[in-house]
């Protein structure tokens, strides 16, 4: 059932020559806008699509299709970093030929300062890992209140930067792709106002920026393709328009009138309108990129609450679920695939197929009833929380599909809608956590760790809020295994053990995996080299050409 991730569709990449792709204006049509352009405040997996046009980080996405693309690659740094002290210390050396948009060379102090800024409460929103991973950083309040800086980051010279971690983290090269690892010149830092014009280290710089509305990028003349082989930076100019309706975006990409022929999108997957025209051999088949971003839709049980403290009940419901209806509710089999595993089917994450509660695609209500009877439970009524918005992927439609499937097994489901904006807030606080809820989890980087640790590591149960271990599952053995895998710096060994761990935990039915994401994106008819990468499943703006 798995096509191994990424790289389904587009034309042969062999014909594409990055050396002659330069020129033209690329239009990007997006639904949601960029709310922040400050590298400290961005939370995008692997530096995202648009930010990485501006910010170079210590490491970056490898931007290859398929499995190869799920690996980090050196960016500002000369390599993926040198671990020592059992992966508790990571040392990077910066390249010599990297400059800010004003021509000043980038130093290790700039990288350190960039990271320190992300600790300031004035600049919230970034990924939380560094607070946890760096030694004694949890209470650091940023350079404005504590100018002395973080001790755990050392810059012995202008080119070298050393990170001291509190525990072994083999995934550090993945984390170093985050925008928090982008350099920020202290002299240019305006705090909250910095994002109006962040100083670029990448191929483009900001010409104009209005949050959630528009962003215009032009070439950064101090960037050179010699120093950066991953970003092709073909268009001379990139104009992002945000706040559009998904259906409108896709219609525009299909009709391709005027400048729309040179358009692409980073956040509007195809809708049913276009799906009907895809795969029919029509012209649209040449304008589509199919990939897979590792992400899972699942149903989470709160095992601290009855009846889900009873494993049999969880198993019974795992039998009852009808994945076909869930897939249809999420947009059909072209843009989601049904899942019986928590890890999405990608090798980089360590995916190992399993189906502990085989019930076919449409569920096995008879078996579910039987298991419930075994457990001595009858006339079961449960509550299921979901978001009030279908855009989230855990909205009313999926909830209704689950409700209907459970009804077949004699289980009554009362749906509780929670406002989308507060959904994570409510479900992430054990005090307010519902007994069962629909959830979605995407990888911050393509590795088993960020997928399994927040969900199943017992030490990650945060009672005050922001918790993702919704089962509130705490097994010392599992915790120990997680630590052991974290210390591995060899990815293939790590992958195998993540997969095994997932298979083991899956037996407990702490969650019901429902489906995994697939990504089908259209692009304008003049757009070339729109190849989905293996990391995010979508094409990379840094490699697209409109010439």
């Amino acid at each position: 059932a798995c096509d191994g991730g990424g790289g389904g569709g587009t034309s042969a990449t062999g014909a594409f020559d990055p050396a002659t792709c330069q020129g033209g204006t690329l239009t990007v049509l997006n639904q949601g806008g960029i709310t922040h352009l400050d590298p400290a405040r961005l939370y995008t997996s692997g530096g995202g699509n648009i930010p990485s046009l501006l910010f170079r980080t210590l490491t970056t996405r490898n931007r290859q299709p398929g499995e190869a693309g799920a690996k980090p690659a050196p960016d500002l740094a000369t390599d993926l970093g040198t671990p020592s002290d059992g992966a508790k210390t990571w040392t990077y050396r910066l390249r010599d030929d990297v400059f800010f948009e004003d021509g000043t060379p980038i130093t290790s102090a700039d990288v350190k300062y960039g990271i320190e800024r992300s600790f300031a409460p004035e600049l919230p929103g970034g990924a939380p890992y560094l607070r946890d991973w760096l030694q004694d950083a949890a209470s650091y309040q940023g350079p404005y209140k504590q100018p002395e800086g973080i001790k755990a980051i050392e810059t012995p010279d202008d080119r070298t930067i050393v990170f001291k971690l509190s525990k072994p983290e083999g995934d550090f090269p993945f984390l170093a792709t985050a925008t928090q690892f982008a350099p920020v010149p202290k002299a240019k830092d305006k705090g909250v106002g910095y994002e109006a014009h962040p100083i670029s280290s990448g191929p483009y710089q900001v010409e104009s920026y209005e949050p959630k509305k528009s962003l215009v990028l032009v070439r950064n003349t101090h960037w050179s393709s010699k120093s950066d082989t991953l970003r092709y930076a073909c268009p001379d100019r990139i104009e992002v328009t945000a706040g559009l309706d998904a259906a409108v975006i896709n219609q525009r990409l299909v009709s391709g009138a005027g400048q729309d022929a040179n358009a692409a999108t980073t956040d509007a997957p195809v809708g049913p309108e276009q799906l009907a025209q895809l795969g029919t051999g029509g012209p649209l088949d040449k304008q589509v990129a199919r990939g897979e971003f590792p992400a899972t839709y699942y149903l989470a049980f709160n095992t601290k609450k009855a009846p889900f403290d009873n494993q049999k009940v969880r198993e019974a419901l795992s039998y009852a679920v009808n994945r076909t209806s869930v897939v249809n509710a999420l947009g059909g089999s072209t843009i989601v695939g049904s899942s019986t595993t928590f890890l999405p089917p990608q090798k980089a994450l360590g995916y190992q197929p399993y189906d502990h509660f085989p019930a076919g695609d449409t569920g096995d209500p008879a078996k579910a009833k039987q298991v419930l009877a075994e457990a001595g439970v009858s006339n079961l009524t449960i509550e299921l929380a979901h978001s009030n918005s279908d855009d989230s992927g855990y909205g009313p439609k999926v909830a209704a599909a689950v409700q209907e499937a459970f009804k077949q097994a004699g289980v009554t489901v009362k749906l509780t809608a929670i406002d989308d904006a507060t959904y994570r807030d409510v479900t992430g606080k054990p005090a307010t956590e519902p007994s069962a809820s629909l959830q979605y989890w995407g990888a911050d980087w393509p590795s088993g760790g960020p997928f399994l640790i927040p969900i199943f590591d017992g030490r990650q149960i945060i009672t005050a809020g922001g918790n993702f271990n919704l089962a509130q599952y705490n097994d010392p053995q599992v915790n120990a295994e997680i630590d052991a895998i974290n210390a591995l710096t060899d990815q293939s060994t790590a992958q195998a053990r993540w997969g095994a761990l997932d298979t083991t935990i899956g037996k407990l039915a702490l969650t019901i995996p429902l489906a995994h994401e697939k990504d089908v994106f259209l692009f304008g008819k003049n757009v070339k080299n729109a190849v989905p990468d293996g990391w995010r499943g979508t094409y990379d703006l840094a490699r697209i050409s409109v010439k």
């Binding site: 309706d245 409108v248 904006a421």
Partner: protein, 329 residues
């Protein structure tokens, strides 16, 4: 006149005050915490507390509201990293979500909504009055019937249905028009109009129906008035009577309506702006509500409330200007 304006202004301030208090109250009662969204995924409780403090949402609601009022009157200073940011009066604060000053956001979005409302209003006035006149003068009975039918149908179609049909017909099927994007009037007037044409039409449908109906009724009503009979009794030709006498009386109610509607359209364009992806005030608001972006929600609401109040005052002034009988009180 001055006294009148002063009284209107006083009333407006009261209404706006009530509105903002209401919103603060509502948001305070709401279970959602804006800091959670700002802080992002995996935010620890300690970090959340810090962020909440930095955003100023850890104060009691009355303190927050007081700061807000002070900001409007005297401006406010906000912590912003290495230095503080001064938000000059009338300060509506900074967006929780994007950290932009709300006043700037509003100033940025207003032209879009205003263009939308203005065009739609002009369109519906022209079409509505035209149709209403044709029907009201009853030169041809069948025309009256047709217009009447269209008017009723106009009342019965929701904006989003019209918008959708228009998009599909003109942008997808026929491709006569571009998918609407906002081009400022000052940049390219032609592109401005071309892009806004469909949203205008979509928004104008209901208004057109209302205007047609009003004009039709107004014309018939004035034509039945005594002074029209006088004009006839003194041999004035019918066309002149219609032009000089009846139109004035029939269009008078429209004058007041126009100003009020202009404000009403601007505030109710949420659906249209969302559907056509136009970056106007309505779209700003929908996003802000979803993101619990209190300063923006309050700002938009105050702005729209202010617009309605101003529109009402303008309507009264206009009415007094066109109808010599009216005196401002």
């Amino acid at each position: 006149m001055i006294g009148y304006l002063a009284r209107r202004l006083g009333g407006a301030v009261l209404v706006l005050f009530g509105l903002s208090l209401l919103l603060y109250g509502l948001f305070y009662l709401a279970p959602s915490d804006p800091a959670v969204l700002t802080c992002g995924k995996g935010c620890t409780p300690e970090r959340l507390a810090e962020v909440r403090h930095a955003m100023g949402v850890d104060d009691p609601v009355f303190t927050q509201y007081r700061h807000f009022l002070e900001g409007i009157v005297a401006g406010r200073d906000y912590p912003a990293g290495p230095n503080t940011r001064h938000c000059p009066a009338p300060c509506l604060g900074y967006s929780f979500e994007t950290d932009q000053p709300v006043t700037a956001l509003l100033a940025d979005r207003l032209p879009v909504s205003a263009s939308l409302a203005f065009g739609a209003e002009v369109l519906s006035l022209v079409a509505g009055i035209g149709a209403g006149l044709l029907a009201g003068l009853r030169r041809y009975r069948w025309l009256d019937r047709v217009v009447n039918g269209l008017v009723l149908a106009g009342y019965a179609v929701p904006v989003f249905l019209v918008g959708l049909l228009l998009l599909l017909l003109f942008c997808v099927q026929l491709q006569w028009l571009p998918f609407p994007t906002y081009v400022p009037l000052t940049t390219d007037p032609l592109a401005w109009a071309q892009n806004l044409l469909l949203p205008w039409v979509a928004l104008a449908v209901i208004q057109t129906a209302a205007y047609a109906r009003l004009t039709r009724a107004g014309i018939q009503e004035t034509l039945a008035e005594d002074h029209i009979r006088t004009a006839r009794a003194y041999g004035l030709p019918e066309s002149r009577i219609v032009r000089r006498r009846a139109l004035r009386g029939a269009l008078l109610p429209l004058v007041t309506l126009t100003a009020i509607d202009l404000a009403a359209i601007m505030t109710s364009a949420v659906l249209t702006e969302t559907m056509f992806g136009l970056p106007g005030v309505g779209q700003l608001l929908v996003g802000a509500v979803n993101q619990i972006d209190l300063p923006v929600v309050v700002g938009v609401t105050l702005l729209t409330g202010l617009l309605i109040v101003i529109a009402n005052a303008v309507a009264d002034l206009l009415y007094a200007a066109v109808d010599p009988r009216v005196e401002l009180r």
